[in-house]
């Protein structure tokens, strides 16, 4: 079955045709259709911003592994079907063991909110991992980790290493959308699964 054959959020949330949750999602057809169209824009449409399909799946798999839960299996499965995908998937599983933590944390602009500043893991990939992934993906995954767990630490200077590793502005926009969309999709799937239980 191709991934276009079915609504991906339904699959991730375990929603069967004709179930109460299916009926409920169909009461918001514009949402349902555009959550699926977002998935297709990021993962099945032809690339126009300079991120290969396998790179998109590496990023999505890593975001899902960082969250834990069943969504990772979907993206890892697609990644493993790519050239070199099995090795990349194994590498990501290993990396995520050291990268998983609890969020959101991070610092606010100095002032009254500084009392809420919460320190946490700043994820760096060691030399072995950088060699295996390549500098372009290694730099991207460090950025991805920040976006998942401590987005309020983001600053303008974060883009310098990405640019140096070959990420153009349109590619950074797509990279950010993949992480942000996954952050939505994983939560929507989790919430609907709990609601339907």
């Amino acid at each position: 079955m191709s991934i276009q054959d079915t609504d991906v959020l339904d699959r991730l949330a375990g929603i069967a045709a004709g179930s109460a949750l299916d009926t409920l999602r169909r009461e918001r057809p514009q949402t349902r259709d555009n959550v699926q169209a977002s998935y297709e824009a990021l993962f099945t449409a032809a690339d126009e911003t300079g991120i290969a399909q396998s790179e998109r799946l590496v990023v999505a798999s890593f975001v899902a592994l960082l969250h834990g839960g069943p969504t990772a299996g979907h993206y890892l499965g697609l990644l493993e079907a790519q050239p070199n995908g099995v090795a990349l998937a194994a590498l990501l599983r290993g990396l995520s063991e050291h990268a998983r933590t609890s969020g959101p944390y991070g610092a606010y602009p100095a002032g009254p909110l500084s009392s809420e500043d919460a320190p946490g893991l700043i994820f760096k990939i060691e030399a072995d991992g950088r060699t295996a992934l390549g500098e372009r993906l290694a730099t991207a995954l460090e950025h991805v980790h920040q976006l998942v767990f401590h987005p309020r630490d983001a600053k303008a200077a974060d883009f310098a290493p990405l640019k140096a590793a070959g990420w153009s502005t349109p590619a950074i926009v797509t990279l950010s959308q993949i992480v942000a969309y996954l952050s939505f999709q994983i939560r929507a799937a989790h919430g609907l699964r709990v609601l339907g239980a």
Partner: protein, 199 residues
């Protein structure tokens, strides 16, 4: 189009949560307004958004912008039954307060105030944080939004049970899930692609 946005004095960046209108400056070059292609304009959905550097930056990838925007509008504006608009905006504001997105929180706290007419209660969420004790329904909505925002996700049957006990039907709870989940999308873009500015 150069990186002049990087040279702004830090003093103009807000350091508290507020319901005031804020500006937002991109850290990467948006598509210039006069250079927007037809497809990028379709990605904006609403052509008035061509004035926004945020949406013009996202227009570098127009198809995901278009689907994102149409999903956003339906999750928040389609009030055919389900969760009232004020409570959807409250969920967006609570999610933004939890992730620390001062810009997103300002916009959706204002909307929550507009639809609920409860400016002081909304301000307590901003000032005291997500632990503010407001009333049973708002507390439960904030708590559920925050649990869904945590990584690993902490949302569970106890949150659904409490919302049902407070009278929300499953469509309303699904609306809440979508509102909070969607702001985990929006917050990450707003926080990482630029920063707010005091107008």
């Amino acid at each position: 189009m150069s990186s002049t946005t990087l040279d702004r004095p830090a003093a103009t960046v807000p350091n508290v949560f507020t319901q005031a209108e804020l500006g937002w400056n991109a850290w990467l070059d948006p598509v210039p307004e006069e250079a927007l292609t037809e497809r990028q304009k379709q990605g904006l959905v609403d052509i008035a958004r061509a004035k926004s550097p945020y949406f013009r930056l996202l227009a570098h990838d127009p198809d995901i912008l278009r689907s994102r925007t149409l999903a956003d509008k339906d999750i928040f504006y389609n009030t055919k039954s389900g969760l009232p608009r004020a409570e959807r905006e409250l969920a967006a504001a609570a999610t933004s307060r939890s992730n620390g997105c001062i810009y997103c929180a300002s916009v959706h706290a204002r909307f929550a105030t507009t639809f609920s007419k409860r400016r002081e209660d909304v301000q307590r969420l901003l000032d005291e944080g997500v632990g503010a004790d407001i009333d049973p329904l708002w507390n439960a909505i904030i708590e559920a939004s925050v649990a869904l925002t945590a990584t690993p996700i902490a949302f569970g049957p106890e949150h659904v049970g409490k919302l049902r006990d407070l009278g929300l039907d499953d469509l309303a709870i699904s609306d809440l899930i979508h509102s909070a989940a969607f702001f985990n999308w929006a917050n990450r873009l707003m926080l990482s692609l630029g920063e707010p500015e005091i107008d």
